[in-house]
Amino acid sequence: MSSADAVAAVLWVGVTLYAVFGGADFGSGFWALIAGGGDRGSRARALIDWAIGPVWEANHVWLIFMLVTLWTAFPEAFSSITSTLFIPLSLAALGIVLRGAGFAFHRVARRRGGRRLAEAAFGVASVLTPFFMGTVVGAVASGRVPIGNAEGDPVTSWLNGVSLLLGALFVAAGAYLAAVFLVSDARRFGDQQLVAYFTRRALAAAFVAGALAIAGIFVLHDDARYLYDGLTSEGLPLVLLSLVCGLGALVLLWRGVARGVRPLAVAAVVAVIWGWGAAQYPYLLPETLTIEQGAGASETLTAVLVVFGIAVVVVLPALALLFVLDQRSLLEEEAPTE
């Protein structure tokens, strides 16, 4: 494996972690948005606050990690993607601002109006941000990003079947992961009603995500042939693994089994992401720019790998500490019912 491949793998680890943790985070925002008013809605929202409060910021650092790795190791791909996809990326950035500000402010806003506004910003942005990120991924995956400064079409590059489908799929997958996590959180909090509430939602989201994935097979077949061929050859084992894990998680959810749902749901998402990676290999931008062609200076690649090594040693234990403390309910300001 060349060092460019190694860095691409590092980048992919970042993509995976962001998809799982960031995705679940966006999904929680989705459920908060549609929880509605009334007693049950506000209890659901309180649980979401309680669940993601301490961890949501760390979840989004993965995005910065991805961006930085991409521009440091693959500057050509980075600048081509960001200049052609100026519009959806700007909208995603807008969403990140609204979401973060909304979440931070709604906890401390004093007036009901301000709180409502902040909650709405958080909820709406939680849907729009992953959607636009999905359209960006769709543009890259379907080979609509040519090399150069804004060489691709500014609009049709991300407003097309593949992009729209992936946008919707990102939202659905995030909602699914979030619901699965929230089932555990509700159980940890000892609220059986909310356990049932989020179990139903997890099942619904799983069916929607599954339907979108099946629709995706046809869309990719017509519009992103390179990726389709990859997913049905090199990537096939991982796609099947994802299918098995996804179905397994569904069965466990259906039966109300507590253990094993989260790992299986996460595995389903991880497997499909690595299947996509395998399908797109060796291209950064399918059929225009390979990993080797797009790689920056070899000294820099080495430096990125070293920095990643440091990150594994420094950040992972800290992150583990955060999640352990969080799961043991040692990190909280107030009980979620208040």
Binding site: G53, P54, E57, A58, H60, V61, I64, F65, L67, V68, W71, T72, A73, F74, P75, E76, F78, S79, T82, S83, F86, I87, L89, S90, A93, I96, V97, R99, G100, A101, F103, A104, F105, V108, A109, R110, G114, N149, A150, P154, G296, A297, E299, T300, A303, V304, V307, I310, A311, V314, V315, A318, L319, L322, L325, D326, L330, L331, E332, E333
Partner: protein, 443 residues
Amino acid sequence: MAFTLGFHIVLACIGVGFPAIILVANYLGLRRNDPVALELAQRWSKVAAVTFVVGAITGTVLSFEMGLLWPEFMRRFGDVFGLPFALEGIFFFTEAIFIAIYIFGWKRLSPWPHFWTGVPVAIAGIGGAWSVVAANSWMNQPDGFKLNADGTVTDVSPLDAFFNGAVAYEAPHMILAAYLVTGFLVASVYAVGMLRGRRDRHHRLGLLIPLTVAVIVTPIQFAVGDTAARSIAKDQPIKFAAMECVQTTDTHVTEYIGGRCTSDGVKGGIGIPGLDSWLVGFSTDTEVIGLDSVPPEDRPPANTLLHWAFDAMVGICSVLILLGLWLGISWWRKRDIPKTPWFLRAVAVSGAAAIVALECGWIVTEVGRQPWIVYEVMRTEDAVTEASGIWVSLSIVIVLYTALGISTVLVLRAMARRWREAEDVDVPYGPRPPTQEPPEAPA
């Protein structure tokens, strides 16, 4: 980009400087069994939670903008100066993790372990600031690569790029600025409270802790800044010439304070003959390179603005040193802050003044480098995106950030009001759940 950076820089400073000040309060509170200091630390950490979020999202926007606005810059040099950002990523990650533990750990963690979870936040803040400034100072004094005749970049050495010539003074200057700005800013909030008649111990400590940090840092900052200016005169002479309105290369150059820069020299302003040369080389015989040494298209724009920004920064820093001396003398003689309301009024405006100085310093280093994005290597106009719609997005950004700034202030004010109305909503380190061991040090 300039607008979003100018916004982010304030929040980043608070993110770097505030944790240390909070930890000082936390430490004093634990050591001296002082519930007021602990309460301050806890409330400040909640404020920091909000400012940290806003800093984090504006920082994320910046990393988007690197590509959205400067794709050519990133294409050519992304692999040269990307390493500092990768390191900053690690620091930021550490910061985000531990700040979450610290903020959410007030109730259930034991006092001293909880204190120690805050320490990595302060350290990571310093490391992160160093890394980000390393990237900026690389733009000022690029290093760690070679250019071929056709302009392609070869012989990349990310370490040389990281340890470029300017980082040794730029990074400390920025980190000290963070402590200075945060210290005066937090102190100014309590000064306003005291001017409104709230003279309790809570306000006194809330004023004294950050103010002490700030007044210790200010003279050091002045010395570091002075060194920085001398290095700039040597390594980026055109920027220096623009800062000081030096039109022609000469010895015995006059130092002007204020005034309007024109092509025939400074109009108005106070001139001190020979001082500029002396400041650069400790002798009036020192030659100072003037703007005429490069063709007009290589000179920075808005010369008067630059000159004023530089003077304002130095001026504000000097006044803040005097403020520190005032406090120091009063404390030495009476163990108290100066009695006169004028002292509190001065502290009340010091926060805003420090922010003005911060923005001025940033204008000097960024506008002073123009027309280059990478000093003498790449022009800003060659780095920019060809995507249409930048003006639309700029307008949206300005509206959005204005709203963001206003709501941040409103939210923080609302928090303060709530704390004043309900005194005992949260008590640090208690009440603790019965299943836990009793706290080591009752607070």
